[in-house]
Point group: C2
C-alpha cells in the first residue's frame, strides 16, 4: 500500500468514527475519557519502555538537556496526564448548545446549534504529552483525531495513543476516534494536508518550518499556533513600579513561551526615570536589553555587559530567552504603529494610569489579546477560565487567541417548518 493510500485509510476510518462520535451523549464521551485515563495508568509500563527507546535515540542524537527533559516521561508525569484527562471529563460539553433560536415571519423556526467539527488533524513535534492533551480535548467535543507526532517521541506517542484508543473503545467510543500515524517523515504531513475529503481542519503545533509546510500545502482550514512577539508599552502616564513588576513577570516568569514579551516601548516623557530605576531592576534579573539609540544612550553609563545595541531585526525576533528589545517612542500613536508593524498580533499591553490612552490602545491595536495594566502571560486557556486549552491561535478566523473546547466546535442551522415553500 502506498504512503498516500495508507494515510487515506486513516482518513476514511476517522470519518466513520467521527460520524459515530458526534452521536454520543456528553455522558458517553465523559465515560470514554475516564476509561482513557484508567487505561493510560494501566499501560504505564508499556509507555515507559517505549519512552526509554525514544530517550536512548535522543541521547545518541545529542539532544539538549532541555529537549531531553521535554521528552522524558515518568510515573508522575503519566499520572499528571491521566489526571488532566479526568479534569477534562468534568468540564461542561459545549456540543448541542443552541447559540441562537428565532422564528421567521413565515413561521420557519431557525436554530443555530453547536456541533463537532468532524475530523481534526494534529501535527506536532517533540513533547509526547501533546498526544493525550490534543486527542482528549477533541474526543470531549465529539471530534475524531488523526495525530502525527514528531520522530523524537514516536515510540512514546504510539504507546500513548494506543492506550487512549483502547480505553475509549472499552467505554464504547469508536476505536478509530483517536489514531496516530506512525510515519514521521514530512511526506506524511504533505499527504495529510492535501486530504481535505477526510480532514475538516489541521492544527500544527511546532516550529516555524513545520508550520510553513502545513500552511503552504493545506487545502483545509489551518489553525496555527505561530510566534509570539508580544510587546509592552510603558505610557507617559505609567506607574513605573507597576511597569517594573509587569515587565519582569512577562519576561522572566517563563521566558520560553509564546505569551512572554520580547519588546518594551518606553514613552520619552518617562524615559529618564524608566532608565534610571526600572531598567536597572530588569537588568538585575539577568535580562539582556537590546536598545535603540535613545535607550542605549541612557544606559551606557551602567557599563553593563547586558546592555547592547539593537538591530532592526531585534524588534521582529521571538527570543524565547532572557532578552528584551527596548525602544523609546514619542507618542502612543508611534507605539501603536510599532506594534502593528513589528509585533505578531498575539498579546500586547499598555501600562498607564490614563484611561483615555488605555482605551485608545485597546481599540487600535489589532491583536488577539490586548491588555491594560496586566502581564501578557495571562493569554492562556486556563487563565481565561476555559478549563482546558488546545493552543493559542495566531490566526484571525474561527479561533483567535486561547482555544478552549468551544473553539473545537462549529455550528449548523436546524430549520423546522410546516410545509413552507419559497414564494
Amino acid at each position: 500500500m502506498s504512503l498516500t493510500d495508507q494515510i487515506h485509510d486513516f482518513g476514511k476510518r476517522a470519518r466513520a468514527a467521527a460520524r459515530q462520535l458526534r452521536q454520543c451523549t456528553a455522558e458517553q464521551k465523559n465515560a470514554g475519557l475516564r476509561a482513557m485515563s484508567d487505561e493510560l495508568v494501566a499501560a504505564q509500563d508499556a509507555i515507559l519502555s517505549a519512552n526509554a527507546k525514544d530517550l536512548e535515540k535522543a541521547k545518541a542524537a545529542g539532544l539538549s538537556a532541555a529537549m531531553m527533559d521535554r521528552l522524558t516521561l515518568n510515573p508522575k508525569r503519566i499520572a499528571a496526564m491521566a489526571d488532566g484527562i479526568r479534569q477534562v471529563a468534568e468540564l461542561p460539553d459545549p456540543v448541542g448548545e443552541i447559540i441562537r433560536d428565532w422564528t421567521r415571519p413565515n413561521g420557519l423556526r431557525i436554530q443555530k446549534k453547536r456541533v463537532p467539527i468532524g475530523v481534526i488533524g494534529i501535527i506536532y513535534e517533540s513533547r509526547p504529552n501533546v498526544t493525550a492533551d490534543a486527542a482528549v480535548l477533541c474526543a470531549k467535543t465529539g471530534n475524531a483525531t488523526i495525530l502525527r507526532g514528531g520522530s523524537e517521541s514516536i515510540n512514546s506517542n504510539i504507546a500513548i495513543a494506543a492506550a487512549l484508543a483502547r480505553g475509549g473503545a472499552k467505554a464504547g467510543l469508536p476505536a478509530d476516534a483517536i489514531q496516530l500515524i506512525p510515519v514521521t517523515d514530512r511526506e506524511a504531513v504533505r499527504v495529510m494536508c492535501e486530504m481535505d475529503q477526510f480532514l475538516d481542519c489541521i492544527v500544527p503545533r511546532g516550529g516555524k518550518s513545520l508550520i510553513e509546510v502545513v500552511v503552504s500545502h493545506a487545502r483545509m482550514p489551518v489553525i496555527k499556533h505561530y510566534d509570539g512577539i508580544c510587546i509592552m508599552y510603558v505610557d507617559a502616564a505609567a506607574d513605573l513600579a507597576m511597569a517594573e513588576k509587569l515587565i519582569i513577570n512577562a519576561k522572566c516568569q517563563r521566558p520560553g513561551v509564546c505569551n512572554a514579551i520580547e519588546t518594551v516601548l518606553v514613552h520619552s516623557a518617562v524615559a529618564e526615570k524608566f532608565f534610571a530605576t526600572t531598567a536597572p531592576a530588569i537588568l538585575e534579573k539577568g535580562v539582556q536589553l537590546r536598545c535603540d539609540e535613545r535607550a542605549f544612550s541612557k544606559l551606557a553609563n551602567l557599563n553593563s555587559p547586558l546592555v547592547a545595541h539593537a538591530a532592526a531585526e531585534d524588534f521582529r525576533t521571538e527570543y524565547l530567552d532572557l532578552i528584551l528589545a527596548v525602544k523609546v517612542v514619542d507618542s502612543i500613536e508611534e507605539a501603536i504603529s510599532h506594534i502593528e508593524n513589528n509585533g505578531s498580533h498575539h498579546s500586547d499591553c499598555i501600562i498607564t494610569a490614563d484611561g483615555r490612552a488605555a482605551e485608545q490602545f485597546l481599540a487600535d491595536v489589532d491583536s488577539a489579546t490586548v491588555y491594560w495594566n496586566a502581564s501578557t502571560r495571562f493569554t492562556d486557556g486556563g487563565e481565561f477560565g476555559f478549563g482546558a486549552e488546545i493552543g493559542i491561535s495566531t490566526d484571525k478566523l474561527h479561533a483567535r487567541g486561547p482555544m478552549g473546547l468551544e473553539e473545537l466546535t462549529t455550528y449548523k442551522y436546524v430549520l423546522r417548518g410546516s410545509g413552507q415553500a419559497r414564494p
Copy 2:
C-alpha cells in the same frame, strides 16, 4: 513593476486602509456607504459605456444568452445596486459588540469583542454586481477589500469599483478601502493566494476550477461557496401533498442556484403512492427524473421521455437544471447514509409527520442547514433575516451556511487589569 510587486502594492495599500477603516464609527461607515450609492448613480453613464465594451466582447466571444443577461447592466439594475447599498447602510453594525464579558478571580476583566477581519480578497467571475455587493458588505463591517473579478466583466467592474471608492473617499473613508485588481489572468489569483501578509481571508465565488486554484494555492483562510448537492428525503410518514409542493418548490422555483435540490430519496413504505401521484406531478413541471432501478420500475409504465435510468454519478451531480436523481430507500438510516456519502453538506431536508424521525434526521445529518418540512430554498441570508448576504459557505470553519455581516467579523480579547502578574 512585476505582476507580483504590482499586486503586493494593492495589498500594502489595503492593509493601511483597513487600519483606518476599523477606527471608523458605524455612522462614518454608513455615510460612506450612502455616498457610494450616490456616486454609483452619478457614474451611470461611465458604467454603462464600460459595460457596453464588455457586452461587445462577450457577443464576439459567443457567450450564451443567459451569460449575456448576467453581464448586462442598465439604469434599472444600477439603481437596484445603489438601492441595495442604502439598505446595507440601514443595517445594524455588528462591529464593537461585546460577545462575552467576565471577570476572573484575580480581578482581571476579560471582554470578547467583535472586530473587523481586516483585508478580505474577493475573487469572482461574471456578474459585475458582485463588485458592489461584496465590497459594500466588507466596508460596512470595517474591512478593506481587494477585488479580482473575471475578464468578461472587467470594464464594468473597474467602473463600478472606481465609483464606490470615489464615493467612500468623498465621505471620508480611506480611498484604498475598495480596490480592484485590473489583471484578469490566473497568475494574479495565484499571487493573491500567496500574500497572506496582506490578506486575512479569501472568498472565491465562481466555478469549480476557480475554487480549485484558490484552495490549492491559498495560504490564508478561504471561505468557499462551493457546490450544492441538496437532497430531500420523503419519509415513511411523509404527507405526500406536502412532499409534492416542497419538491417542486425546491427544484423548480429557481433551478440554477445552490440551494435547489438535486436528489429525492423516497422511503419504500410510501413509494407506491409517491410514484403513482407525486412523481407524475413533478414530471408535469418538466423535470427529468433519473431513477434507480426500483424507482424506474415504478415509472416505466408512464412511457415518459422524462423518465431515465440514473448512473451512480447522477447522485453526485449538481445539475442546476430541471433534473432530479431519484432513489428508493428502505429506512431513514439508509437515507442519512446516502446524504452523508453523496451530498455536499449544504442543505438537506426530511419530509415527515413523525417527530422522532425528524429529530433523528436533524441531529444526524451533518450539513450546514438541515430542514424538517420546508423547502431548501430558504438557505439564504435574506430568508434567514440577516439583511444581507455575501454568500453561502460550504466550509465548516468560521462561517457555515448563509454568511451575513456577522460572518465578516472576528473577535479579539480585551483585558483590563490593575497590575496583575502571573504567579
